[in-house]
Amino acid sequence: MLELLATVDSGGTSLAQALLQQVANGIAKGSVYALIAVGYTMVYGVLQLINFAHGEVYMLGAYFSYYPAKWMGYTTDPEDPSFVPAKVPLYVVGFLFVCSMACCALLGMLIERFAYRPLRNSSRLAALITAIGVSLLLQNGGIMLFKADPRGFPTLIEQSSVDLGLVALTNTKIIIVVVAAVMMAGLHLFVQKTRPGAAMRACSFDMRTARLMGVNVDGTIGLTFAIGSIMAAVAGVLVAMDQPTIDPLMGLMAGLKAFVAAVLGGIGSIPGAALGGLLLGVTESVVGTFSTTYAEAVAFVLLILVLLVKPSGLLGKSGREKV
């Protein structure tokens, strides 16, 4: 504790700057939470289901770009004798993103089709337990297929520090923030301005009536899973680019944090997921200025306080519960 105070004292004039830097770190961290949180929130909005397998989709997003990269010869695997850390050209980076997005979209739809759709009319608890089952299946399947050892991810973009005036961030973190912002804005427009987006909102509002109005409910739910999974895939590749080792259990903590972010922002609300993610990331980082040991604990206390005051989350709709 004494040490903690000393840290603050010696900061003096630079404390403000340190805090500002931590806010910037937190925004980068929070952008990733937000990208994953969107998947939780969209599925919950439509099905009132917490898709616990979503963190694993994020993990697989990283692997779905790791293997194509490896097959094209971009690898850091030491077992490979012809190991040359080649520079990955930009069009390959683009291809890896697209590849991972496509595979995850397909995976998300498959999970929905085979694990959740048969249970759509059974109790919510059954679906929730199934979600946990799918999550465990993907984790342990990942350990079996990919081995538990973390793997080095190829350098997609050479990391360097970029001075932004008051704060400095690595170029990969800036890319994370920009890509996340663009994707979230695009998603918001999609949901608000397009016909499939309107169908999604209709299903979320009242699935039975939507079906009576001629909305393809199964297709819309499939699309919801696909879009959520695409966001998670992008998050997976972005994180692997910034923190280049991946392992089959990387989705566990990330998924949990994103879920918390979704609840904090108000589960079911897409802007809420963005806000919740950023808030969680920034809180963790700012608390980290004083004590990295307690950063997560304080962030979770914040969650509890918010939920005590506003049980439906920051931007959540409080209203009647559909049963």
């Binding site: 840290t7 830097q21 850091t76 990391q159």
Partner: protein, 392 residues
């Protein structure tokens, strides 16, 4: 189920067949030895989460046994190595220890790698009066289990202190930052001992940051470290974390003039490829270096490469040394008797192993130097040996 049955029958059969010879050994006045062979036990985990550590240890031990038997054995008796896999589980280590002590009746038991497993096995050997020598359990409490329990590796307190001495005296560093894994006893132990020693020497620990197990993004910690402008960063973590930490430390603009430093947890074939050059010019303490030019080490490296087609890790080197330590102790004891071998182990002086020259001290721990290695290109080069008397 069927396999289990067959295994049970086989075990029974073995126990009975073993009973025949062992009686002779016992009557001859010593356990574990028959007319032409001496039974030694080896227990490490070759399956489970720390399987690579145990596998390397077993490879090193197998190589030593092969060499000794080819040269005529120990005092004319060939080594009959009884190996059991402890599957990375403490309860399995206890079972295996009972089996080695009471069924196989080995003269000396060697193992385990993980301190938790050694701690589970030690009381069994202590009770049965079987000397146990751990090749690589670094936790201080392991050898406190009884007078029959030994180890041939250095301890975490010495390792942390030696890193501090190296940073302060050899590199001339005065402002250290620490980033530790708060969920891991190994990491916090090293960090605490480093901190203590570095301050005692007159240095300043300007930042001491923690992270939780499984963290991959260290921006907050590194921001705090960078603000304090340290001249060295101590990372008492395992290689996977070090690979990520080092890249992010350099990525956030802390330059090459601030080297990183760590302990034996860094050693891995994955460290250099996964850190992508960020560790160039950094240092870590280890049990030995395969680049050590001494004849003894090079002969071992060559033999190991010929047998397994890969360079030996520290654990392989310790597995190799532990067999030779036991051989030396039996020769010193003069006869195949557990109590006499125990006394010989306790009195072991200046044993020349591939992991350095060492003696067993009054706590039954090895007093041996730590090799500080420098990361250069794709090699770990030995730069300095720190002896226990340097850290005192």
């Amino acid at each position: 189920m069927r396999n289990a049955l067959i295994l049970a029958i086989a075990t029974l059969a073995l126990a009975f067949s073993g009973a025949g010879c062992k009686d002779k050994g016992n009557e001859a006045g010593g356990s574990g030895a028959t007319e032409d062979s001496v039974k030694l036990g080896l227990f490490v985990s070759t399956t489970g989460e720390i399987a690579t550590f145990g596998g390397d240890t077993k490879n090193g031990a197998d190589l030593a046994v092969e060499e000794i038997n080819k040269a005529g054995g120990i005092k004319g008796k060939l080594i009959d190595l009884r190996f059991y896999d402890t599957a990375s589980k403490a309860e399995e280590a206890g079972n295996v220890a009972t089996k080695l002590a009471t069924q196989d009746k080995v003269l000396v038991a060697m193992g385990a790698v993980a301190s938790g497993l050694s701690l589970a096995a030690a009381p069994v050997f202590e009770q049965n009066g079987v000397p146990m020598v751990s090749p690589s359990s670094t936790n201080p409490t392991v050898t406190q289990q009884g007078k029959n329990i030994f180890r041939i590796c250095f301890l975490d307190d010495f390792q942390g202190g030696a890193c501090a001495v190296f940073a302060y005296k050899e590199l001339g560093k005065r402002k250290a930052a620490i980033i530790r894994n708060q969920d891991d006893a190994y990491s916090t132990g090293l960090a605490d001992y480093f901190r203590l020693k570095f301050k005692a020497l007159g240095g300043e620990v300007v930042a001491d940051e923690s992270y939780k197990k499984g963290t991959k993004e260290f921006a907050s910690q590194i921001t705090n470290v960078k603000a304090k402008e340290p001249d060295i960063i101590f990372l008492p973590c395992y290689y996977n974390d070090v690979a990520l930490l080092s890249q992010q430390i350099r990525g956030q603009g802390i330059g090459d003039d601030v080297p990183m430093l760590g302990g034996d947890g860094w050693e891995s074939a994955n460290l250099i490829p996964n850190s992508k050059g960020a560790l160039e010019g950094s240092y870590f303490g280890n049990h030995y270096s395969p680049e050590d030019p001494s004849e003894h080490v090079q002969a071992f490296v060559k033999g190991y490469k010929a047998k397994y087609n890969t360079a030996p890790s520290s654990l392989a080197a310790l597995g190799y040394d532990v067999v030779y330590v036991v051989k030396k102790a039996i020769e010193d004891a003069g006869e195949f008797d557990r109590a006499k071998v125990r006394d010989a182990l306790a009195a072991l002086k200046d044993f020349k192993g591939v992991t350095g020259t060492f003696s067993i001290d009054e706590n039954r721990d090895a007093r041996k130097p730590i090799s500080i290695l420098k990361v250069q290109g794709d090699k770990f080069l030995p730069v300095k040996q720190i002896y226990p008397q340097d850290v005192k």
